[in-house]
Amino acid sequence: MNKNIIISSGLHMLVIFVATLSLPFIVKKPIELPPIISVELIQITDQTNVPFAPKAKKIIEKIKKKQEKLVSEQAPPKKVKKEKPDAVPLPDQKNEQVKKIEEKKQNPEKIDNEVKQVSEFEKDEMFDPNSIAALIDKSKEDLAETSKKLDKVTQSQDPSMNLSGLTLNEEDALKAQIFGCWSIPLGLPYNENLLVRIKLKLKPDGSVIKTEILDHARMNKPGQNFYKVLAESALRAIQLCQPLRVPTTGYERWKDLQLNFDAREMLEG
């Protein structure tokens, strides 16, 4: 009898123990909040154009350095302004200030012009981010010019450069532009192959030097009149879109480009 009671209570205890462990409402665990993840919005170009990343890093670093330099270059006028906040300088005085600044500049001409054009009041805005950004842009242009030779070397040395396509951003920009220019002929047959491949030779500014229809022979085949119409509409789209929205860099990469115009998706709806 006692044995049975012991077994029964033992089993009861086991059931209670199991319930305590497994049923969630008995044991309330503290809510674990997931760790906070900081989200940083980045340009997708940096991610999609991997082969360019090391070069881009170098460029960014150079720009940063340049930026620091430029900020330090602009520092003196601020000091000058603070020293005489209310005084309106006479033309002679102003010239003297300019000369002082000139002595400190690495790139005297540009800053000279800036200083000559701005009044004391406008000098307050010398340090706003926009003007710095503008200067950075200028420095980028300078950099691009000076590093053109370097660029050529790196592109030819980098074996992955020729294999890399356009980045998603670049491709989307080009597609969006041509979508707007291409008037698809509405009389095309629904059940035919409606793909026209056109090879382009481009100038660095995106204008077209040469177009070549790859399946040219198909244009003169009997019963394929629609193909000629389709090809002509694609050529018109290219002409209409000129200059094409191509990337600003990496001309070697995209100077030859192939556009595959396919009307099937649109016509089949």
Binding site: N162, K175, S183, P185, N225, F226, L230, Q239, N260, E265
Partner: protein
Amino acid sequence: MRNKKLLFIILLIAFPFKSLALIEVDITRGNLSPLPLAVSSLASNKKDKENLEKKLEIKDLGLEISLIVENNLKKSGLFNPLNKDAFLQKPDIAHLKPRFEDWALIKAQALITGKVNFIDDKLRVEFRLWDVLAGKEMLALAFTTVPKNWRRVGHIISDKVYERLTGEKGYFDTRVIYVAEEGPKTQRVKKLAIMDQDGFNTKYLTLGNELVLTPRFNPTNQMVTYLSYFKNLPRVYLLDIETGIQEVVGDFPGMTFAPRFSPDGKKIIMSFAMDGNSDIYTMNLENRIVERITNHPSIDTSPSYSPDGKYIAFNSDRSGYQQIYVMKSNGKNVKRISFGKGLYGTPVWSPRGDLIAFTKLHKGKFYIGVMRTDGKGERLLTENFYQEAPSWSPNGRVLIFYRETKTNSKGEGFSAKLWSIDLTGYNERLVETETDASDPSWSSLLSN
């Protein structure tokens, strides 16, 4: 020799070619808006202009022809003719050498220019089609005809431009035969009428003494077959539009419906009731031999041949409801192709052979639609209170049909008009007619 091959292979392995991958971009979307084009007025010198004005009483024939072209292309829904006020170049200079920059500036992608001359009492019209963006001529043609034919010249130019820019034949140099209706609904006077597809040059072919029904064009020539009641008996007639000669093909018993030509124009196919049972018959027009095609206790009507003449589409209620069936031209292999809800009727095979147009009645509404010849891909193009009798344009891209409006409680407000709709279903237009109209049939191209 073998060593050389081996050396070559070793070289290939040792010095692989540097692959230059060409960047490919897929363009799968575009805009489906109509193509903007400029139709410049057709130029003519002062003397020709004066002579033509005397002859035809039209002040500027070149302008009128260009307006016909403009109107045709606009109605097709595929082109957007630009306003002539925006044109920067004069017609005569543009015809010699267009300044493409000027035409590109107003966003024209194609340009039509031309010249009208009056030589030896004949009208000579030449025109050119230019690709504005490529800066080149796409087409140049000239026609000589009697001055009275000037509207047809406009239609032929429209057809040529349409064909060059879309890749398929046009449908502008065509005519439509229909039943012109006048008077109150209970006492309708019905006459056979014919007009150009744009609604001009209407001619009445019968006087309206007899009831006429279902006129149909011969696909190969300007012959028409229609049904007329003579002393309350239906008769099938043949009418040659060019000569005006009319002949009775035969008297048939009971209800006779919808005679239609075979694609070669040598037979007519129709349905009539023998012993209270409607079946499909053909009649050879050369020897007048009648052949029975279907033999079924159900009602079989509205037969229509496929363009190759191998198959016939018709409607039948053999499944309990009126549906569309397809069979071989000898009456064998009958297959039902319509399976949607509602009643299907008036199947008409497209001249291209790819689609069958039909009328559908579902929940008290009438639809005009198309389906593939196997019954798949059904698309309803338009819906209305009452509409039926679709007829294809010769290029199989547009349908013409008629639509009736509801009468009010006093029995007023009834009208029947012709409408056209293209295969996209978006370009629906009223076809202007002088009177009320029903039962249209589209001719084949007058000039090939």
